[in-house]
């Protein structure tokens, strides 16, 4: 083979890496493709590397060549260029001495190149960490693809590595592609040039390159020293050159996309870590970033992700705090966002900062109305808090700071209590808690804590070396989580004594610092004898080969055990084997509505009937996230908790409208009344395509769940044909009608209605109340989309009907809709009202699409409008329906916005013209809803009091 041209030349660059070089070269020599040669380029190593290279060349003289540079180049660029010059293969690849190639890398890359004629083939790179592996931009590598050029998928620009790729050598020569010297991030420029120059690009999903990462290793690799400003300056210089390359190729579109990527990715990377840097660093960073972004066409910002666009905009404005806040809202790995800035309200919309008011662009980029900060339940927001004082006072530690109060949402009248939580950063849920005092100073909320750390904080040592500082603030019924960070230097140099449970050998002080995530944290250090010597020693041992193996095995084992203990599967197993042997508690009734999301629907009205009769039953309500809105006189258990399972195991009755956890066995002594949550328009259960298609086991699981029902409440024979058939219900149909619809027939509780009117600001209001209650839509994965985008113009509603009408918007409980604050009083979001029934009583007209609310509201004999802009697609493609809506609808079906507004403008006509159809609709779909459902059910099951 030495005489013929090899298929591939792999250029392996090395500098002082004698220990790992042989492994890298072996990974090339062991390739399944035979015609592969190695050119090792030694960047003038001073360790044993020359000896290793000589041995490798001697062992495979016809496959390994060694080139040694006369002096060290200080980077990767020059050695790789020398490698290209020495390459003889038709294809060239690059490998770093600390990484390896997959055994089939060359074969897969070359085959793809030959089959497709691509000049550049890219395969999947995997970051290999001691405990796990991470795919590098996996979304790009899901399937084999061929691109005529980079414009067909500009997202490739995100993968800037030069090493997971195979280049035709004549392509490198034609484009005169070489790496730059003396700059970091040479890969970025090289990749950009290669992408833009290649006449055809192929992508393969095969793993080709193992990037072996050693976190926290003594010799940090270049990319890891991101903390150095010089790196950032280099990165900007590389980007300027990439801009020039794209300009030279006339690729303006690509340049724009690249800049979008810079803001979405590169800039964000630095911004996220900026809180852990000192003020001096931040200033210099801002100056550098501002000079680069300032020269950029601001139109780029409008193509970026929302938060990164804001960050870019604020950098241009020179407001680094607001930029860091944007990064807080876009944390790593799609973690929960932290709101660490007080947004402003202006002309009915919400903006990130006042800078918005100065320009058209600012108003577009900084508009964050759709985040729903003004309307989201407080408990769902994670707020930013700051530390501005931290000092030791004798044995005590004193901490103080403030918490943002966005849009003044934390009501001045509400009493605040709170705790400082010192959380184990490795273990979710483990924390030490210390009370804090919260005070209001104008709009600001300040906090203070004082405690003896040695007494309050007892870490184990070694296994829990870092601790995050958080606040948990209770305002009324909402618990708000506050992430703390430091304003600057308040935490500097503060350390306090602590006694780890593994003795003072493993550390004696906790030292404050700001973690790279921006979170204020404490870490265990050794300042005195013996920890000053033993802790570093122990750390070093844990980094040796055997030490590391043992350490990771221990950590893994712990995680596995903890995971097992809290796993749902464990709880279910304990339920089925142990809890069900506990004695039944006579009279205990577990209620649940929509998996614990609400206090509503049929279970609520059965509970209410029980309460009014004063029967000696104990009501237990399940809630999923917050207890807000649940009845105070009932026992509340969190869904999925041990208390929840215990309650279910011992209950005499289960009452719910959707389904208690699958795989739980229902005891014979427990009576399960399944009320269901509405008649069906959309196909359900085994009539749904996804269920039909599912495997036998999945189908059996569903049958097991449904087989537990003892009684199934229905409101018409339509339910028998649809729900009972589709779900495969074997229980006795309970022809009682829906308890939740009793008030729709009898008129409801005037006090409750007055309360609701007051709450919504509708007292003494003569306006026509329009309730818009659509069902959910699914996202691209077929799951209910979290955000419901309103399919008509709310401003138009305000303009045309605002004087005489008020619109209540109620998204399906699985999603939320955001109503801009500017429409306050005219358009009201009623998504957080638990129970829809009082809303139906309040509404003068209902606008819906396919929601089962249509069956209920029809009982009111008021106008109904069906607004179905995505009609055919929704019904035919996604779910399928049990009947033709247009044929039976008890009101006009509007396919577009104009139709909707025309109908709203003529409600009398709508009411008059559809009177017969409404009557028929009720007869067909609600024959048993006669206003006596709750009474009938309670009398049948609960009348005897604590009966058996």
């Amino acid at each position: 083979m030495s005489c013929s041209e090899p298929d591939v030349t792999v250029v392996v660059i090395v500098y002082n890496d004698a220990g790992r070089l042989a492994r890298a070269v072996r990974s090339v020599l062991g390739q399944s493709l035979a015609g592969v040669e190695v050119v090792v380029v030694d960047d003038a190593s001073t360790d044993a590397t020359p000896r290793v290279t000589a041995a490798l060349a001697a062992a495979s003289p016809d496959r390994v060549r060694v080139v040694t540079l006369p002096e060290n180049s200080g980077g990767c660029g020059r050695p790789r260029n020398v490698g290209i010059d020495h390459a003889r293969g038709r294809y060239v690849m690059f490998l770093d001495s600390d990484d390896t190639l997959d055994p089939h890398a060359c074969r897969n890359l070359v085959t793809a190149a030959e089959n497709t004629g691509a000049e550049l083939v890219s395969g999947r790179c995997v970051r290999v960490l001691p405990e796990q592996e991470q795919n590098w931009y996996p979304s790009l590598y899901r399937e084999s693809r061929v691109l005529a050029n980079i414009l067909e998928d500009p997202d490739l620009l995100y993968d800037t590595l030069s090493t997971n790729k195979c280049y035709r050598r004549d392509f490198l020569e034609r484009e005169e592609l070489r790496f730059v010297d003396r700059l970091h991030y040479e890969d970025l420029l090289f990749s950009a040039q290669a992408y833009v120059g290649a006449r055809k690009i192929a992508i393969i999903p095969h793993r080709v390159y193992n990037w072996l990462v050693i976190p926290g290793g003594e010799t940090l690799s270049i990319t890891h020293r991101r903390a150095e400003l010089r790196n950032f300056a280099d990165r900007l210089e590389i980007h300027r050159r990439i801009d020039a390359t794209f300009r030279a190729h006339g690729a303006a579109e690509l340049a724009k996309l690249k800049n979008v990527k810079f803001i979405n990715h590169d800039l964000l990377l630095y911004l996220r870590e900026l809180r852990s840097r000192d003020p001096e660093y931040r200033r210099e960073f801002l100056a550098l970033a501002r000079s680069y972004l300032g020269a950029m066409d601001p139109a780029v910002l409008e193509e970026c992700n929302q938060m990164t666009a804001i960050a870019g905009f604020m950098i241009r404005e020179g407001d680094v705090e607001a930029a860091m806040a944007a990064a807080d809202h876009a944390p790593k790995k799609n973690g929960p966002p932290t709101l660490s800035i007080e947004p402003i309200e202006h002309e009915g919309r919400i903006y990130w900062s006042e800078a918005a008011l100065e320009s058209e662009l600012g108003r577009r980029v900084l508009d964050v109305t759709d985040l729903g900060i003004h309307s989201a339940p407080l408990g769902t927001l994670r707020l930013g808090g700051r530390l501005d004082a931290m000092r030791r006072e004798g044995r005590e530690l004193f901490l103080a700071g403030d918490v943002i109060n966005p849009l003044g949402r934390i009501d001045a009248a509400v009493e605040l209590t709170g705790k400082l939580e010192i959380r184990d950063r490795r273990r979710k849920g483990r924390a030490f808690r210390v009370p804090v005092t919260l005070r209001r100073e104008g709009a600001r909320i300040t906090w203070q804590a004082r405690f003896v750390p040695a007494r309050r904080i007892r870490p184990i040592g070694l296994v829990d070396q870092t601790w995050g500082l958080w606040l948990s603030v209770k305002a009324d019924e909402d618990t708000i989580t506050v992430r703390l960070t430091s304003t600057g230097t308040a935490h500097d140099g503060v350390a306090m004594p602590v006694r780890p449970r593994l003795s003072r050998v493993v550390g004696d002080h906790l030292e404050a610092y700001v973690a790279e995530s921006g979170e204020l944290a404490l870490r265990i250090v050794g300042r005195r004898f013996p920890a000053r010597f033993t802790l570093p020693l122990l750390r070093r041992i844990s980094r040796t080969g055997l030490g590391r193996t043992w350490w990771h095995a221990l950590m893994r084992a712990e995680k596995a055990v903890l995971g097992r203990l809290t796993a749902r599967a464990t709880k279910i197993a304990v339920f089925n084997r142990v809890l069900v042997r506990l004695p039944i508690r006579k009279g205990a009734v577990v209620f649940e509505s929509h998996l614990g999301a609400q206090y509503s629907d049929n279970p609520k009205y059965i509970h209410r009937e029980l309460r009014e009769r004063g029967t000696p039953h104990q009501a237990i309500w399940s809630y999923s996230t917050s207890t807000r809105g649940f009845p105070k006189d009932a026992k509340l258990v969190k869904r999925g908790s041990w208390a929840y399972f215990r309650a279910l195991a011992r209950a005499e009755f289960w009452v719910d409208n959707q389904g208690f956890p699958a795989l739980l066995t229902k005891r014979r002594q427990t009576t399960y009344i399944q009320t269901w949550h509405g008649s069906a328009f959309k196909r359900m259960g085994f009539d749904e395509p996804t269920v039909k298609q599912s495997t036998r086991n999945e189908q059996l699981r569903l049958r097991q769940m449904i087989g537990r029902f003892d009684h199934f409440v229905i409101r018409s024979e339509h339910d028998v044909r649809t729900l009972i058939g589709g779900l495969g219900v074997t229980a006795e149909p309970l022809r009682a009608g829906y308890p939740r619809n009793d008030p729709l027939v009898t008129g409801g509780d005037p006090e409750e209605l007055a309360d609701l009117r007051r709450r919504l600001g509708l007292e003494d209001d003569g306006r026509t109340v329009v309730l818009y209650a659509p069902t959910f839509r699914t996202d691209e994965n077929g799951r209910p989309a979290a955000r419901f985008e309103l399919p008509f113009d709310l401003d138009r509603f305000a303009r045309e009907l605002g004087d005489s009408h008020v619109l209540l918007v109620r998204a399906h409980y699985l999603s939320t809709a955001v109503v801009p604050p500017g429409l306050r009083g005219t358009v009201i979001d009623v998504g957080d009202v638990h129970d829809v029934t009082p809303l139906l009583l309040l509404a003068d007209v209902l606008v819906t699409d396919y929601s089962s609310v249509m069956f209920d509201y029809a009982l009111r004999d008021r106008p109904m409008i069906f607004y179905t802009p995505d009609g055919d697609d929704y019904v035919d493609r996604q779910r399928g329906a049990y009947f033709d809506l247009a044929e039976h609808a008890p009101g006009p079906v509007a396919g577009d916005e104009d139709g909707l507004f025309a109908a709203l403008a003529d409600l009398d006509g709508v009411h008059r013209d559809h009177a017969d159809r409404r009557r028929l609709f009720v007869e067909r779909f609600g024959e048993y809803d006669t206003g006596t459902a709750a009474k009938a059910i309670v009398e049948r099951f609960f009348a005897g009091g604590r009966s058996g």
């Binding site: 996996p138 749904e688 395509p689 039909k692």
Partner: protein, 372 residues
């Protein structure tokens, strides 16, 4: 000119009546016709051997006279291991007879357990997965595929999409190899008989229950049409009961299994593939070869590899019975649509002509041949 090789094809068994065995005998014959020396090897005998023809141009060997004990419990696991070792010794002896350039094909993962323990005498090993990635992922075979095929020189999946899925799932030896067309039609369907046909085991996976539901939607509109469900299987009783329940006795026929593929397909006008899972559905290939338009659930990448929606068949969202019924309805209503799709199918299926597929095999053999 490609050289002739010793090719060892190792399967679980080579005697049973089944898709894999049919494929194995067919491909063995095609290899032999190219001058290769083919050894078809089964690990065990079948309970009921099928007749795959007299005097095949390849040798057939079975490693174990009796079925190896199942692996339940520690003791039987030891016994199983001893059995495999004995079988592997026989296998090694066979491999030693190979001339340079030989290759080993492990057509199934269970058989691979024997190959892994045998001495392949330096020959490259090609593993195969004869079902879709998703189907394997949901079964206990997944872990064994990952374990036993990881070291194979190649892992061949049935379609490019499945090969990609395996590659993304860390099987970097994955590539694609479709099955060859194994029928040579002398005649094609005239597409005038009012019959919709389905061939295949009557089982949950094959989804005849969904086909019956779809049929219940269309049958009343087409009283002269019949649905013919060929095959036998565990669900037969349940399916007959369901057909009666849906009042379809008059229009649905269960003629049982048939050996007359040509008769079954030429006697129909539409082919219906209602499966929940598939690999590379050979029954679609057969239907295409006989000029039938197909309605199929999009239940595996193989379906899309074979059919182009609207060109030579109609592809339907998995499990969407109404959409399936609507597609059947379209074809039953429209003879010209049947003709255009059916004719297109006959042309496009020639991609899987034996010569083209065997050429691809020989290119793969050259790729894994390490004598240089």
């Amino acid at each position: 000119m490609a050289e002739t090789r010793d090719i060892f094809m190792v399967c679980n068994n080579v005697e049973e009546l089944g898709g894999l065995q049919r494929w194995a005998h067919h491909v063995a014959r095609l290899f032999a016709l190219r001058g290769h020396r083919v050894h078809l090897i089964g690990v065990t005998h079948a309970d009921r051997p099928h007749d795959y023809g007299q005097d095949p141009p390849y040798t057939i060997t079975t490693l174990h006279e009796r079925r190896p004990p199942p692996r339940r419990g520690r003791l039987s696991r030891l016994r199983h291991r001893a059995t495999v070792r004995r079988g592997a010794v026989r296998l090694s002896a066979l491999f030693r007879t190979a001339r340079p350039g030989g290759v080993v094909i492990a057509a199934q993962v269970w058989a691979m357990e024997w190959v892994v323990r045998a001495d392949t005498a330096g020959m490259p090993v090609i593993g195969m997965s004869h079902e879709s990635y998703t189907a394997t992922r949901q079964s206990s075979r997944y872990r064994r595929v990952k374990r036993h095929f990881a070291g194979a020189d190649l892992l061949l999946a049935l379609t490019g999409a499945d090969a990609d899925a395996w590659a993304f799932d860390e099987m970097s030896n994955a590539a694609a190899m479709p099955n060859p067309l194994h029928v040579t039609p002398v005649s094609a369907s005239s597409r005038t008989e009012p019959v919709v046909v389905r061939l295949g085991r009557l089982s949950f996976e094959k989804g005849q229950d969904m086909l019956l539901e779809a049929w219940a939607e269309v049958a009343p509109r087409h009283p002269s049409w019949r649905l013919r469900l060929y095959g036998t299987g565990p669900e037969e009783g349940e399916l007959r009961r369901r057909a009666a329940e849906l009042r379809l006795d008059a229009s649905v026929e269960f003629p049982g299994a048939t050996s007359d593929l040509e008769g079954a397909l030429t006697g129909a006008s539409v082919f219906a593939l209602s499966s929940r899972e598939e690999g590379f559905p050979m029954s679609i290939i057969e239907a295409m070869a006989y000029g039938l338009p197909t309605v199929a659930f999009d239940c595996a990448p193989g379906v899309r590899e074979l059919l182009t929606d609207g060109h030579d068949g109609l592809i339907v969202t998995p499990g969407n019975v109404m959409e399936f019924a609507a597609a059947l309805d379209r074809l039953m209503d429209d003879a010209r649509l049947r003709d255009s799709l059916g004719e297109a199918a006959r042309v496009s299926v020639t991609r899987y002509a034996p010569d083209a597929i065997i050429d691809r095999w020989e290119r793969q053999f050259a790729l894994v041949d390490r004598r240089l």
